[in-house]
């Protein structure tokens, strides 16, 4: 964003100048985007370590949530330790489902980036 003229220098035509420049810049940006589509946003998918870490926390979070629900239900219903055991396994299932969903989401993102990299992603 560099303007060749200082907007403060000439108050009278600066507005018209700026409008013209703005139109020109817009045109240029549009051509540029068409000619040279932005590369896939690296930050979007993060690093490989980030992806791996995200998946593992999803799994662990499911386990913890299941265990917690089971433990609280046990406290409430006085059925120690059966619900804890049952919900621990249900939590594992939930964790695996979380991982599966996150992985599907990641794969979808990656495929989208490969198929059509010229998706207009704003003017980031």
């Amino acid at each position: 964003m560099t303007y060749p003229t200082d907007p403060e220098s000439d108050k009278t035509d600066s507005r018209a100048d700026l409008a013209a420049l703005d139109a020109k810049l817009r045109e240029h940006a549009k051509n540029q985007r068409k000619k040279n589509p932005e590369p896939a946003d690296a930050g979007k998918r993060g690093t490989a370590i980030g992806m791996a870490f995200r998946l593992s926390t999803e799994l662990v979070a499911g386990l913890i949530a299941g265990g917690l629900v089971g433990w609280l239900l046990d406290q409430w219903l006085g059925t120690k330790p059966w619900l804890l055991l049952i919900f621990f396994f249900l939590g594992t299932a939930a964790g695996i489902m979380n991982v599966f969903r996150t992985a599907t989401l990641m794969a979808g993102d990656a495929a989208q980036d490969q198929d059509k990299p010229d998706v207009p992603s704003g003017d980031r």
Binding site: M1, T2, Y3, P7, L18, G43, G46, T47, G50, F53, R54, T57, E58, V60, A61, G62, I64, A65, G66, L68, V69, F87, L90, G91, A93, A94, G95, M97, N98, S121, G122, D123, R124
Partner: protein
């Protein structure tokens, strides 16, 4: 980096977890509850002040040609605005202030933690869990306000055989409840692991130098690693703030646009 260097002699006495200790600065007690102003509170206030200064002071000039600070403020605004638009759509625009505040606060907390002798508030699970729980409750509330009891169909996948229904619904509910846990654990674990690692390697440097003689030269290896790792930690600090904000967007999208 060397926050723990001042205590313990000769490297072996260095405690890499010392940096995470919370101590009160202004002791306050309200009816038996310890509500002291701690170093954690102080650095959270610093993060809030940092965000406010960046957004208010930097935008004060409202220059047509933005200066450095205004550029940063505008860039972060557009970054989050695009994130909300891409992930939630136009319906998400009314939640933009919340997401922006959240992103900036987490980002500033993470980045302030990179300063030597500072305290990383996001390396404490209670801080990240409070943030995540607030998001979780808020998103659930938004879902129920927008869709009423119909929001519960979120837990029932389409085309499910009736036999499996009870099992899958329970699993779906647990999966939903695990959201604040995974959200908070991810941020907390990343920040804590990174900072512990930095201090451990800083301890190696001091240990090698303390050993003297031939070992002093060896100190260059952990030192070089630390320089590289500090760069990575800055990336992680940004990335985790980004992930925190984008997952909030995804959860919000689920609540606003029921499948």
């Amino acid at each position: 980096m060397s926050a723990s260097a001042d205590q313990g002699g000769g490297g072996l006495g260095i405690d890499p977890m010392h940096q995470f200790e919370v101590h009160s600065i202004i002791p306050i007690e309200i009816s038996g509850i310890n509500a002291s102003f701690t170093n954690a509170s102080m650095w959270m206030v610093f993060a809030a002040i940092g965000v406010i200064s960046l957004t208010v002071l930097a935008m004060n000039g409202r220059a047509m040609v933005p200066g450095r600070w205004q550029s940063i403020a505008e860039l972060s605004y557009e970054f989050v605005a695009n994130m909300v638009r891409d992930n939630v759509g136009t319906a998400g625009q009314s939640y933009f202030p919340f997401i922006f505040t959240l992103f900036m606060f987490v980002l500033f907390s993470n980045m302030l933690g990179m300063l030597p002798y500072s305290f990383t508030t996001t390396s404490h699970i209670i801080v990240t869990f409070a943030l995540a729980m607030f998001i979780f409750l808020g998103v659930t509330l938004v879902g129920f306000i927008k869709h009423g009891a119909h929001y519960l169909t979120l837990f029932v996948p389409k085309g499910l055989p009736a036999v499996l229904l009870p099992l899958i619904v329970v699993i779906e509910v647990i999966s939903y409840l695990s959201r604040p846990i995974s959200l908070s654990v991810r941020l907390f674990a990343n920040m804590m692991a990174g900072h512990t690692m930095l201090k451990v390697f800083a301890g190696f440097v001091i240990g090698f130098i303390g050993a003297g003689g031939l070992f002093t030269g060896l100190a260059i290896a952990p030192m070089a690693f630390m320089v590289a790792f500090t760069g990575l930690e800055i990336l992680v600090a940004f990335l985790q703030a980004y992930v925190f904000a984008i997952l909030t967007c995804i959860y919000l999208n689920d609540a606003l646009h029921l499948h």
